[in-house]
Amino acid sequence: MLNKAGSSFIVNRFEEHNEELIAVRQDSLLKRLLRIHLGPPEATDDQSSQIPGSRLVPALFTAYRDLNALRYDFPVMLLETDVERMAVPLSHLIDELIRVQTPTAAEDEYYRRDLYQLEAAIKALVNEGRQQRLSTLWDVAAKRCLAAATDAARREVLRSNLGSARRALRDDGLVTECDGQIARRLFAHAWQLIESEQGQHARETLDDLSAELTVIIDADRMRSARATSADALRTAMGGEHAGGIDFERLSSVVRSNQHQSPLTTSRRKRLRGVLKILEAERRRIDPGGGNGKSSRRGQRVLTTADSCVEAFELLDAELQRMVELFRAVRIAQLEVENRYDEARHNAFFAAFDQEQLTPEELSGLPPLFVYLDGEALDAENKATLVEILSSELPIKLLLELHNTPDAVPATIGLAAFGGWGTSLGSMATVLPTAFVMQAPASHLPRLASEVMAGLRYQGPALYCIYTGPVAEAESMPRYLHCASAAESRAFPCFVQHPGRGTDWAQRFTLSDNPQPELAWPIHHLSYEDGDGRAMIDDIAFTVADFLAMDPRFAGQYAPVAPEAWHPNMVPLGDYLALDPIDTFNKVPYLWMINGNDTLQRVIVRRGLVAAARHCAKLWRSLQELAGIDNSHALRALEVERERLEAEKQGAVEQVTTTEHTDGSGVAPAAAPQAILGSAEPVSEDAGAHEVATAPGPEQAYIETELCTSCNDCTDRNSMMFGYDELKQAYIKDVRAGTFRELVEAAENCPVCIIHPGKPLNPDEPDLAELMQRAAAFN
């Protein structure tokens, strides 16, 4: 018998699905399966419906049961010198080494196999918990590989191959696995790289300004009475010439030759004050004095905070310091260009405050990075977080989400997967100034460039990173857990970068998700059926596949023995695509595989299906933001299509009516064509207009825009010919010279653009001959 909820659902649809309902009532097997699906986890006493822990896994996980045998994005190496390649998977490095080394064809295969063996050995070391630089791990792994080689000749080849690859290795850095600290570690690394880059730029600006100010102050000192005194000159010249020079006379000569007056007291004081502030900032950036030997040269002090409230306080203090600094920088820039006008600028700089800092200057604010545990934030910090994201302050927030048991109810509240933080990422996308990136930790290496983009962005940035359970789970490696969170749409990846444009199409991307155009990613499942035939099915990877590995949700799954399989059982992906009205007699199931590698159907209970539908809704709204089947666009397209259809229909009706009226049978559509075809005469009219406004053959003129500025005509008669503001010739005053000069200028113009016209003075000698010569240019 169906339970209350199930029966009311069916009764409501009775009239529409009368025949199907009767079929359900007559099918005892289907009723039993529906009861399993619709009932709560504890409602069934069928022992076979309990998912037996980790022994049953979704079929699509089969290939990933042993991650050590696979090559993927982890372990990853954090490069210290290359900002653009800050995190490179070990597998990519090995591939690169194989690609750049080109041994002979015969050795090629050994070389590749040896490097893959080394890669596996390094992975094993990292799995043992070693967090070391690649160079160190490489040497240890190479020793292990050599020790494992039994054949002496083979060992020598291995030694040679590993040695040559080691020599080709250009990069080094910490190698790390996808563990619980990966997000913090990777962001701290990225932050240091960015800081090093930006700090270097700040250091150079300060160096330049300090140097320029020092020159001004030194020059003033050299002009002072003290510096030009006889004693000072004697000291400067050295003892060797002391006897041969009259320094008193020299001092008076030097002083009499000074044409520039010394700096005013107020300017000197201002310069020294500004220089003091700039020097203090230089020392702060580079305490070592900038000897260029340290790789960390130019790096500013990292400022981190553990809470949003603390971050605000820290930033405020930094802001006050930066106001002083940029006030000094701006004064220095004006002083260096000798544009500081006390009457105009003193009042401005006396009232200088943070309101007058430009976005470029604000971007020079020292780093402020905030680490947040998404599930430990109190209400005050949550409110402050939203305030930060709504501001334009350069605060970067790393929000780690763990999906801890306390945060997620293991029953129908499955829709709240990921807790508060999952929704925060989506909500923050509507804030126009906030950079938002949501991704699981497994995707961080491939999203490294986006991580850097957010850190470089001048406004606030929020990184919602799903790092998986706090404690390492035995049932599934953390990498696989995080990757399948994105694969199942439970925790989709997206990036919103306000700096990339003003519309969603430019700012928002979902492209780092698998098959973003689909509701759920579709994968091939290859298996053998009971008769040993090879089969391939396309099945969707849904949020129910992802949660199947989490023991907290075991009660949501119910395996069904093959003899109980029913034609109305539908794969969950297909079930979710149906209209809910049409699912009343369907039973959703997942393909899972047991310890004997046998496929099994597992019914998904109603609560989990509701969670999957909720997840699909969230994904759909993200798709709309990314322009995938955007409903507004589709609607506009439909309206336009209807309009065109109506127009077309109207035209057809008009033709039909005309034919009926005049009976001529001539296609009226030809008429507009004929009108369009008359464009040529219109153009001719325009040409006639141009001719009418151009100077006639009577009048002298120059085609100024074609002049090559060769000076020939202007040298000939600079009163008659002149240059315009673009240094191209025109006839300045035709009466300022003779007609002969005009004709000769025309004859000598290298690009023949002078047209002499007709003579103005009828008494000029040899006019007949000149007019004949001029005719060639008119």
Partner: protein, 324 residues
């Protein structure tokens, strides 16, 4: 109304500053021959400087030896009249040390394609951000008519009284065959608006923009380019949304005007070797080529004191000690 806050903001230009005009970029009076094509190039670069409001103290013109190389004297900017064939390495030195400067190079067919050919190849490969103008008049004019690498076969000159024996070097085809090129264009001095537009686009290209300008020498080869000047049908104007844009009035003057996508290197090479018509426009442009100064910058940032110390070190090598 005067707004001191905006005026003093680094991101807003100071409204009290005067704009530069073409007069601000005039140096000493040009002393080329009457009707020399170099005048058109001079005017075009002066116009560019004024239109782009380049600060004269941030702009430098570098040249080698030849008529063309006198151009820096006629500019009101910094200039470097270098050794024969050495304009490009000097310009590279300036750019690597002072990437903030706008660097232009004026070189001739003798200066660039003969004695400076080695530097030419490598400068193209280095792709430093500068604008190189090759004034190609197909003759050594400054030394009174000797054949240059681009002189046509059969040209009678003081060094080839029986006519030049060799086929000329085609600077466009040669450049388009070099490695790592990023911008190659061809212009003629007698079409000032087109010449300006090409130089304008060259200036805005990030990387080495190589513009070969066919330049008249009315003194020694007065009729050398008459076939092109008097017959617009011999000119093939290359336009494209990503290349040269010309006004309709100019385009109408040319019967042969075609769309050429400057990213198509193979087509550019075909056009460069076209014997029938002279292509005018942007033949090749690839903004994706890395600039040398982006990958190899000067490591040490020198303060004024460091610079003085370095200069003193150099000067000390030439100290003349007084004899006792």
């Amino acid at each position: 109304m005067f707004d001191p806050i905006k005026t003093l903001s680094p991101s807003v230009p100071d409204i009290d500053d005067d704009a530069y005009s073409m007069d601000d970029f005039e140096g000493v009076n040009a002393r080329w021959c009457h009707a020399c094509g170099n005048n058109a190039i001079l005017t075009a670069v002066q116009k560019l400087c004024a239109e782009e409001q380049l600060a004269p103290e941030k702009t430098v013109f570098v040249s080698g030896i030849g008529c063309s190389s006198r151009l820096p004297h006629y500019m009101g900017t910094y200039g470097f009249h270098a050794l024969h064939g050495r304009a490009l390495p000097i310009a590279e030195g300036i750019k690597i040390r002072r990437p903030d400067l706008h660097v232009f190079v004026n070189t001739g067919d003798g200066d660039c394609c003969s004695i400076g050919a080695g530097h030419w190849i490598h400068a193209m490969r280095y792709n430093m951000n500068m604008t190189v103008l090759l004034h190609d008049n197909q003759i050594y004019g400054l030394t009174k008519k000797q054949i240059s690498p681009t002189s046509p076969r059969g040209l009678v000159s003081s060094t080839s009284p029986r006519g030049a024996y060799l086929e000329p070097l085609n600077p466009l085809a040669a450049t388009l065959g070099m490695s790592n090129i990023s911008f190659v264009a061809n212009a003629v001095d007698w079409l000032p608006s087109v010449l300006y537009e090409i130089i304008h686009q060259a200036f805005h290209h990030r990387g080495l923009s190589f513009v070969r300008i066919v330049q008249r020498c009315p003194r020694y080869l007065p009729h050398q380019f008459d076939e092109y000047m008097k017959d617009p049908e011999r000119i093939l104007l290359l336009t494209h949304a990503q290349g040269l844009h010309v006004q309709d009035a100019v385009a109408r003057r040319f019967k042969h005007c075609m769309e050429h996508d400057p990213s198509d290197l193979d087509r550019a090479r075909e056009l460069a070797t076209n014997q029938e018509r002279l292509p005018v426009g942007i033949l090749y442009r690839n903004p994706g080529v890395l600039c040398y100064e982006d990958v190899r910058t000067s490591v040490e940032h020198l303060t004024a004191a460091d610079k003085v110390k370095a200069l003193e070190r150099e000067f000390d090598k030439f100290t003349v000690q007084p004899t006792s």
